[in-house]
Every structure is written in structure tokens, then in C-alpha cells.
């Protein structure tokens, strides 16, 4: 089975009936600006897709600074979903992304199911949007969706409300800050989410011994980066077992090897967040790294690799 060669590897992945990506590498919401910020470093069209900063009906100011702090192998952020609002996004940002040939996934959030539904209805009318990512998992603002993301019933109702407004492919983004992430996963898949993405950040805190104050003005923030990779990999593995819709793996990906680990446990695609800050060209490097690895493994298509984890005792090792 392992043959080497220069043959082209098919990296296409399907995440929903109408959503086929040229490769499984996606930039994560809130870490890739509106895409434009990264144009000097890479060709946006080379990404499987990019996910915008979370967009709300009206512009949001976000939290006061201090908003970020580094932690061991990670960082806490409490940006607070600052964004320019859906109108400005459509007028000022989307046209450029379309022109750049980017596959655009818009991350949306609101304070009520009606907000989410209204956003979906607005975005439904636009061209150049490949899918919506419903954020029910931001820990940094009271109305950041987390109240929906921790309750299977509320999460399902919210997804159903969005589903009614749009035929766009829907991705629901889940929080790891729950007792059983598969409960939420099953509920939102049943409610019509075509795909799930996980994980959002873990709630954390940092204090400054010198000043005896919390570092973040918001007190707590979301933990991201390599530190959380083991938690993310576990959550993705569990959810892949629990649902029949594709899963996008997110959390601490810093290399093609990390990305391949998520694909191995069954993620159909991956998102890279924090590490974009460290290396703005990382997404494209990971695309290349995945292709190289699969070619060396003799795979002709990425489908052969996804979910190929061998379980002990399953008679396959």
C-alpha cells in the first residue's frame, strides 16, 4: 500500500452537500481578521477556506484592553467579538475576498436566536459566501453564544432557526467547556447543521503577581494554542464517533503533523487559529505539508487517510 511517487494527491474534502473545499486547511475565526490582513503573506485562494472574524448584526466594540496574554504553550484572549457588523462586512470586506478567489465562510453570532436567524437571512442573499459558521461557543462576552453552546436543547433551537432562513451550508462551532460535548454535537446535527467545527477556546485566567490584578480586563479569557491540542484531539475523536456529519478539527495546530493527527482521528478538515499570529504563512505551509506526507504514504486521495486511526484490539495492528 505504501508506494512513493510524484503523483498528484487529491486533497478535496466535502463538508456539506454544497461545500467542497480544494483542501482541508481553513483559517480559524478571529485569528485571520477579514482575510485581507493575510493577503501580503499568502494567496488566499490556496486555502481550503477562510473563516471571517465573528460577525454580528451591528458593529461591536469588544472588550477593553488588556485583551491578550501569553500562557505556557498558549495564549488567553478576551477580544470580546469586536467586529465591524454585517453591513460594513458586506460592503467593505466581502468584495475583496471574492476578487481574491477566496472560499469564504462567515462566522456569525448574536444575542438571541432571532439575531442569528436575521444574520443568516442577510448573508443568504449575497454571492461569494461558501458557508456560515454558527458560533455558539465564545467564552468572552456575556452574549457570545456560550449560553446556547452549553445546552443541547437551546443549541438545537438556534441551529433550527438559522436553518429556516438559509440554504447555505451550516457549520456549528462547539465549545469544549461542557461535561459532554457529544450531547451538543448530536443535538445540533439533528437540528440541521451540515457540519460541526470544534473546539473553541477553553475558559482560563491569568493574574499578575506584581500588580495583584487579573491580567485581562475581562478577568477570564479563552485559552488557545498548542497547550490545548490534546483536549481538542480528544473532543474531535469523540464527536466523530457520535455523529454522522463531517467534523472540522480545531485547537493548537502548529504544523502539518498536527493537522494530520486531527484528520487521522476522523476530522474531515481542520482550522488553524493562534499559530497564524506566529507564522502568517502557516496555513499554506500546512497545505503543502499534508500533500507531501500523503504522497509519501502513497495515498491518491485524502479520503483514504481521514479517519484511518488504528484502534488497539481492533485486529488492525
Amino acid at each position: 500500500m505504501v508506494k512513493k511517487g510524484k503523483a498528484k494527491v487529491d486533497l478535496q474534502v466535502q463538508l456539506a452537500p454544497g461545500l467542497v473545499l480544494k483542501n482541508p486547511v481553513i483559517s480559524a475565526s478571529g485569528t485571520f481578521g477579514y482575510g485581507r490582513e493575510y493577503a501580503p503573506y499568502l494567496d488566499l485562494a490556496r486555502l481550503g477556506a477562510l473563516v471571517t472574524k465573528g460577525i454580528s448584526l451591528r458593529p461591536q466594540r469588544g472588550n477593553d484592553p488588556v485583551r491578550i496574554v501569553e500562557t505556557p504553550c498558549g495564549m488567553l484572549n478576551a477580544i470580546g467579538l469586536e467586529n465591524i457588523g454585517v453591513e460594513a462586512f458586506l460592503a467593505r470586506e466581502l468584495p475583496g475576498l471574492r476578487a481574491a478567489g477566496a472560499t469564504v465562510i462567515v462566522n456569525i453570532f448574536g444575542q438571541s436566536p432571532a439575531d442569528y436567524a436575521a444574520l443568516a437571512a442577510i448573508l443568504e442573499r449575497e454571492t461569494g459566501i461558501a458557508a456560515l459558521e454558527i458560533n455558539i461557543s465564545c467564552p468572552n462576552v456575556k452574549a457570545g453564544g456560550l449560553q446556547f453552546g452549553t445546552d443541547p436543547k437551546m443549541a438545537a433551537e438556534l441551529v433550527a432557526a438559522v436553518r429556516r432562513e438559509t440554504s447555505l451550508p451550516l457549520i456549528t462551532k462547539l465549545t469544549p467547556n461542557v461535561t459532554d460535548i457529544t450531547d451538543i454535537a448530536r443535538a445540533v446535527a439533528a437540528a440541521g447543521s451540515d457540519c460541526l467545527s470544534l473546539i473553541n477556546t477553553l475558559t482560563g485566567m491569568a493574574v499578575d503577581l506584581r500588580t495583584r490584578k487579573p491580567v485581562l480586563a475581562n478577568l477570564t479569557g479563552g485559552l488557545s494554542g498548542p497547550a490545548i491540542k490534546p483536549v481538542a484531539l480528544r473532543a474531535v475523536y469523540q464527536v466523530v464517533q457520535a455523529v454522522n456529519v463531517p467534523v472540522i478539527g480545531i485547537g493548537g495546530i502548529a504544523s502539518a503533523t498536527d493537522a494530520l493527527e486531527f484528520l487521522l482521528v476522523g476530522a474531515a478538515a481542520i482550522q488553524i487559529g493562534t499559530c497564524n499570529f506566529v507564522n502568517p504563512a502557516i496555513t499554506v505551509e500546512v497545505v503543502e505539508g499534508i500533500e507531501k506526507y500523503l504522497r509519501e504514504q502513497g495515498c491518491t486521495g485524502i479520503g483514504e487517510f481521514i479517519g484511518s486511526l488504528r484502534l488497539p484490539g481492533a485486529g488492525r495492528d
Binding site: T31, R61, E70, A227, V278
Partner: protein, 274 residues
């Protein structure tokens, strides 16, 4: 803005915990550089994710002919401790130059320029001083006020004293009086502002927040235009994370923020709330 690995050409210990490091450009770094810009420096050890984020440092000097540039760094934490051990020949991940830099359109002689540096803030202003000299500004019309807690926190003093002998108005103050006059920069600055006000000087300042605020207070209402270079915690350095924001003047709590990395680090004092 460039993304490359820079070879360490040399490193020089200045004082306990302060050093300069000279790095190779990538052939185009110097062309793109505007004084006041900074670079995000990655941790060389690629196998470790701790520390994770790059660190911002002002570019103190560009040596165009050799395609090299220099940073001046004070050791304050984990990242700077690692950078302190850089050796010639090592490769350091560099991202930059980043930020807006000082307002070059205003920076044409004639006129008078006052630069106020606190501690390592001198790094940013040294690049401005170099620029002014290259634009043919007479040293006599340039003033540099440098303050620090003590002599041990000073860098580039010899270089500045040399320029002082050639005409630069160089005023030095340390809080403990271990070098220059004793006290804060505010004392010499007050005198200088009074003396030069008629010339409607440009004032540029970079240093700790309390000093910047003091500079604002001293220049407010005077005939001078004041620009401040700010610091902030940064994750990305290029406008992607929204981590580095600071408050605008007349912010009623509903408006947007200033991104220190992209809208700054240099701001007209009039834009800031102090």
C-alpha cells in the same frame, strides 16, 4: 513587510540585562523600513512552543550598505532571556518592518525636532535621529532628551555624546543621578520646550507610559506637534488579532479602538486620551 530568517551577525552586551543584536536583512528590509517601525522576533528554537508568540522590538538602526539592522533589547522576561543567548550565525525568525513609523511627510527640514526617549525607547528614536541626519537636518536643530532609572539602563549613550560634540542638543537624566542630571526627563524637557517653542518644534517621544503622559502634559497648549510611540501586548503585530488596542481620545465607550501595531505604534498626541 517581510517574513524571513535573519542571521545573527553580532551581539553586544551593553549593561547587565541590556544588549544590542545586529541581524542580516533579506535584501529588501532596509528599502522598506520607515523609522519608528518595529519587527516581531520569533523564538529561534523551533522545536519548542514555549514561549509561543513573537516579541515586538523597534529597529534601532539600519545599515543599508551591509543590508543589516540592529535591535536594542532589555531582558525583562522569558522571550528576552532566550534572545539574550543568541549567537552569531544563529537564525532568528523576523517579521517586519511593521507599524506606521514616524510621519515622514512632516520630517523635512527646516525646523526643530525634539526627541524624548525613556529607557529602551531610545531604540525607536535612534532610527528617527538617523533619518533626520540623512535628510540633511543640521544637528543643531535636533534635540534628544534621554531618561532612565539609572546609568545601567542606558544604551547608545556614547554614540549620542559623540553626536552632541557635533552639535546635537543631547540632554541626559537619570532618576538616581548616576549619569547626567538627576531626575526625570520632564525637567530638561521643560527648559527645552520653553527655549524652542518659537520654532514650533516637532516633538517625538517613546518610552514608558508615565513618561509619555508627562510629555503630553508638557507639550499640550504649546506651539508644537507631538507624536508618541506606544507599546502594547501584541500577539500578531499586523492587525489580525485585535489584541493590542488602545483607547482613542474622546472615546465615549461606543467607538472603535486604535490598533497599536497597525494604526501605530506612532500616534499624534491629539489622538490619545491623555
Amino acid at each position: 513587510m517581510r517574513l524571513f530568517y535573519a542571521e545573527v551577525k553580532s551581539r553586544q552586551e551593553i549593561n547587565a540585562g541590556i544588549f544590542t543584536v545586529r541581524l542580516a536583512g533579506d535584501g529588501r528590509f532596509g528599502d522598506q523600513f520607515i523609522p519608528g517601525q518595529f519587527v516581531m522576533v520569533g523564538i529561534p528554537e523551533a522545536v519548542s512552543h514555549d514561549p509561543l508568540l513573537r516579541r515586538p522590538f523597534s529597529v534601532a538602526r539600519v545599515f543599508a550598505s551591509e543590508d543589516e539592522f540592529e535591535l536594542a533589547i532589555k531582558v525583562v522576561g522569558r522571550g528576552t532571556t532566550i534572545l539574550q543567548h543568541l549567537r552569531p550565525g544563529e537564525l532568528v525568525p523576523i517579521h517586519g518592518p511593521l507599524g506606521n513609523g514616524y510621519p515622514l511627510d512632516l520630517l523635512e527640514p527646516p525646523g526643530k525636532v525634539i526627541m524624548v526617549a525613556g529607557g529602551l525607547g531610545i531604540a525607536s528614536l535612534l532610527s528617527l535621529l538617523d533619518h533626520c541626519r540623512q535628510r540633511g537636518w543640521p544637528l543643531e536643530d535636533l534635540a534628544l532628551v534621554l531618561g532612565a532609572r539609572s546609568a545601567a539602563e542606558l544604551v547608545y549613550v556614547e554614540l549620542l555624546e559623540d553626536l552632541a560634540r557635533q552639535g546635537l542638543r543631547f540632554l541626559l537624566a537619570t532618576e538616581d543621578g548616576s549619569r547626567g542630571q538627576q531626575g526625570l526627563v520632564t525637567a530638561p524637557l521643560t527648559g527645552l520646550l520653553a527655549a524652542w517653542e518659537a520654532a514650533e518644534p516637532l516633538v517625538f517621544s517613546c518610552g514608558p507610559l508615565p513618561m509619555l503622559r508627562a510629555v503630553c502634559r508638557l507639550t499640550a497648549g504649546r506651539h508644537c506637534r507631538t507624536y508618541l510611540s506606544l507599546e502594547s501586548r501584541m500577539a500578531c503585530g499586523f492587525g489580525a488579532c485585535l489584541g493590542c488596542v488602545t483607547r482613542k481620545k474622546e472615546d465615549d465607550g461606543s467607538g472603535s479602538w486604535l490598533k497599536v501595531c497597525l494604526d501605530g505604534p506612532v500616534f499624534p498626541a491629539a489622538m490619545l486620551p491623555w
